[in-house]
């Protein structure tokens, strides 16, 4: 019988991003074409390798050859690529992205096709957490096992005491990836010392920061890695039940988790007396119901218990009194996905990566106005500039410069591009006025208004405030009102001071970190972009052409190149343009939708 190694393999990227980009159409087309071409091959759906903007991705592996990835594959290209690659042994050079190393041994590469580590997007990355994402079939238990899967659990349960596990994690220097950066080993140690026969271990998969999707990618692409982290953590603190609280907006992640938990149970890595160690452990998935504040640990626990997800004051900390009143440990998805690797490579080795205070790698979701958006994993301490320019290729528009990056979402802040030499570690980012947060990096260019961005975040936090404490409930609303006024051109100069004072009060007086950090996006934009606030207030001018009440909807004749790109998007034909003529806007029918402004590559409309 032919072994898996002798078979042809075709793999299609079917994570949420891959599906949205068109993977849902590519997959059945591959299936159809393989049949039509009479090719016998294994077809699998895989997760995301990070360069989501090049999706849909399709990989082909011929027996004994390297694995080759094709980019931006659509239903029309499928047949041609398969025919050429499989039948004729040739690479479709136009569609090929790169080939993967096959662990060094007699690799038989294709000539003229770059290896992944030769492409700028991947060259500076260091993949630990994302190592298996997009490589293995997340639904295949065998795939996971073939890449060191459950080796760490086996080692822990057969060779290590609970204290040894905690010591190893402590030695690694791993800090929580959910936002606060608390040392994971120390957290486990508190929970393990807390007395009581019943303890819980929670995985926080709520991923509330809009613009961050690393947890989704890990859950969809490598779900067993998260389970492995939870089993090891549960053993270390003495829990017998684990909960995964996953955001409802991630149906595919939940589906992959259900399959993984089922498989882990079948193979004896969950359930009673795991690997004969006497350790019993079960995992339960809880689906969130759409509330940002439920990412906060005490609110999350209230939500699992079936209540409104409102935070409570700490202490008592979850390690003493958590879920259902019992000692509980809670960690983020990415934190947990690191654990298995730390156990296998050793804490000391892991600690060699990164900086003095931020160890290991960090995954970032780089999005917004950037040429190559996606998910990247880099050693901590790398400069922001390396991420933005070297890895992600800089601005996505030729004539528009990057202005700033926003890190840490609604709790974070903006770093101007002039400060792009900032090192990405917990401490340097705080000094620069942002935070590491969960790793969302939203890139903004000259066509993004910083006052509008501040307004956007305050609108978010004001909507998501649970309402329990007054500073957050009322304070964010008052700040939002002021920001909306400024964006309408009705601001006053005192407003800036008012925003700063209010912001500082809300930070000092709120019950949970949602309120304590909500003013950050405003304070950081005032710190670096005070002039934009002043322009809105004094000159009634929005240089980024975002705040509609401040725009004139006029064409700058000196800038217009008469190209006509602005004409088609106009829904009311208010934009008048003839060949070789400067465009003009008819104010009687213009609905001020900004479609022309977005379409103009030269920023000729103000």
């Amino acid at each position: 019988m032919a072994t898996a190694k002798d078979r042809i393999k075709v793999l299609v990227g079917m994570a949420t991003c891959g599906q949205a980009a068109g993977g849902v159409k590519v997959y059945p087309e591959v299936e159809r074409q393989l049949k039509e071409l009479g090719i016998e091959a294994d077809l699998n759906a895989v997760g995301c390798i990070g360069c989501c903007s090049l999706e849909p991705l399709m990989d082909i592996v011929m027996p004994g050859r390297t694995r080759v990835t094709y980019k931006q594959v659509d239903a029309e290209k499928v047949g041609k690529i398969l025919q050429k690659h499989i039948k004729e042994g040739e690479i479709d050079k136009k569609s090929v992205l790169a080939q993967m190393h096959t662990n060094g041994k007699d690799e038989n590469p294709y000539e003229g096709v770059p290896f992944f580590d030769e492409i700028p997007f991947f060259a500076k990355q260091r993949k630990i957490v994302l190592k298996r994402c997009g490589y293995i079939d997340p639904k295949s238990f065998d795939d996971y096992i073939a890449m060191d899967g459950y080796k760490a659990v086996t080692k822990v349960l057969k060779e290590m005491t609970q204290q040894q596990v905690i010591d190893e994690v402590t030695k690694s220097g791993l800090r929580g990836r959910g936002g606060a950066g608390f040392p994971t080993g120390m957290k486990w140690s508190f929970a393990s010392k807390s007395p009581g026969p019943q303890k819980y271990f929670i995985c926080n998969a709520d991923e509330g920061d809009p613009g961050a999707f690393m947890d989704r990618s890990v859950l969809e692409g490598d779900p067993h890695a998260v389970l492995e982290g939870m089993i090891i953590g549960g053993y270390a603190i003495g829990a017998n039940t684990g909960y995964i609280y996953c955001r409802a907006e991630y149906p595919l992640a939940i589906e992959q988790l259900l399959v993984a938990i089922d498989d882990a149970n079948k193979h004896g890595y969950l359930g009673k007396n795991i690997l004969g160690s006497g350790f019993d452990y079960q995992l339960i998935i809880k689906e969130g119901a759409g509330a940002f504040v439920c990412g906060e640990e005490t609110a999350l626990m209230a939500s699992i218990e079936g209540f409104r997800g409102m935070p409570r004051s700490r202490p008592p900390f979850p390690a003493i009194k958590g879920l259902f009143g019992k000692p509980t440990n809670i960690n983020n998805v990415e934190t947990l996905a690191n654990i298995g690797h730390i156990i296998l490579m050793g804490g000391a080795k892991y600690a060699e990566i990164g900086t003095e205070k931020t160890k290991g790698t960090k995954v970032f979701a780089v999005t917004g106005k950037i040429k190559n958006p996606g998910l990247i994993e880099v050693p901590a301490g790398i400069q922001l500039r390396e991420v933005l320019i070297d890895i992600c290729g800089g601005s996505d528009r030729k004539n528009v410069q990057i202005k700033a990056t926003q890190l840490g979402g609604p709790s974070g802040g903006c770093i101007p591009f002039e400060h792009a030499e900032t090192a990405i570690d917990y401490e340097s980012l705080i000094q620069a006025g942002a935070i590491m947060g969960s790793g969302g990096v939203v890139v903004m260019d000259e066509m993004n208004c910083m006052v509008d961005v501040a307004r956007y975040f305050l609108n978010f936090t004001a909507e998501e405030s649970c309402g329990k404490c007054t500073p957050c409930r009322v304070g964010t609303k008052v700040m939002l009102d002021i920001l909306e006024r400024i964006c309408r051109g009705e601001g006053e100069m005192e407003d800036i001071q008012k925003l700063e004072d209010l912001g500082n009060d809300i930070k000092a007086a709120s019950l949970c970190a949602l309120g304590q950090t909500a003013p950050n996006p405003v304070l950081s934009t005032i710190r670096y972009y005070r002039h934009e606030y002043e322009q809105h207030i004094k000159d009634k001018f929005c240089a980024a052409t975002v705040c509609v009440p401040l725009l004139k909807f006029e064409v700058r004749e000196d800038v217009c190149t008469k190209c006509g790109l602005c004409k088609k998007p106009c829904p009311t034909d208010a934009l008048v343009w003839e060949k070789k003529q400067t465009a003009r806007i008819n104010h009687a029918t213009c609905t001020k939708c900004r479609a022309c402004i977005e379409a103009c590559p030269f920023r000729a409309i103000k």
Binding site: T16, C17, A20, A21, G22, V24, C52, S53, E55, E207, D209, P210, G211, A212, F213, R216, S217, A248, E249, Y250, P251, K286, E287, G288, A289, G290, A291, F292, S303, I304, E305, G306, F307, R308, G309, F324, A365, T367, G368, K369, P373, G374, G409, G440, V442, V443, M444, N448, Y456, F457, F460, C466, K568, P569, P571, T591, C593, R594, A595, E598
Partner: protein, 166 residues
């Protein structure tokens, strides 16, 4: 064209479906939210009668149930359209032009976010990130995501769906 569809909408709520869900989950610790989620899956929203039945069976006050239902944005107390048009308003989508997309969709369907068209076909909603931020801006129609949407695409998406209904 859609007249029969509108009239076949259940006016009578079949509470038997809620009973079945309760049978299965009633005894599990902290089951309230999963029960309400299953109820919503079944009816497309959480009918008031079903909420009262759940309160009765779990032995908790209806006020606690409605407290939960109104706290979480996922729950809906009114029937929604056949096509749920979710415009992502997450940060990445916002900086890539989601506000313009939402405006255009609202204008095209003549409803505001959170509302359903009179023929019960379309509901417009805002959502905070579905995790496909690299392909921003995003619109999700029921389960199908449309990536890198420009405002021009909005009319096409809507017209395609309308053609399916015709």
């Amino acid at each position: 064209m859609c007249a029969n569809k509108a009239t076949t909408l259940e006016n009578e709520i079949d509470l038997g479906k809620t009973e079945k869900i309760l049978e299965k989950y009633q005894t599990i610790k902290g089951a309230l939210i999963p029960i309400l989620q299953k109820v919503q899956d079944e009816y497309g929203y959480v009918p008031e009668e079903a909420a009262y039945l759940v309160a009765d069976r779990l032995g908790i006050y209806p006020s606690q149930i409605f407290g939960v239902l109104t706290f979480y944005t996922q729950f809906h107390l009114k029937p929604r359209g056949k096509y749920i048009m979710k415009v992502c308003c997450g940060t990445a989508c916002h900086v890539k032009g989601a506000p313009g997309i939402l405006d255009r969709l609202q204008a095209t369907l003549n409803v505001q976010a959170g509302e359903t068209t009179a023929d019960n076909i379309f509901t417009v909603e805002r959502v905070n990130c579905i995790g496909a931020c690299s392909l921003a801006p995003i619109i999700v129609v029921n389960k199908d995501a449309h990536a890198k949407v420009v405002s021009d695409d909005v009319a096409n998406i809507v017209n395609d769906l309308k053609a399916r209904e015709a």
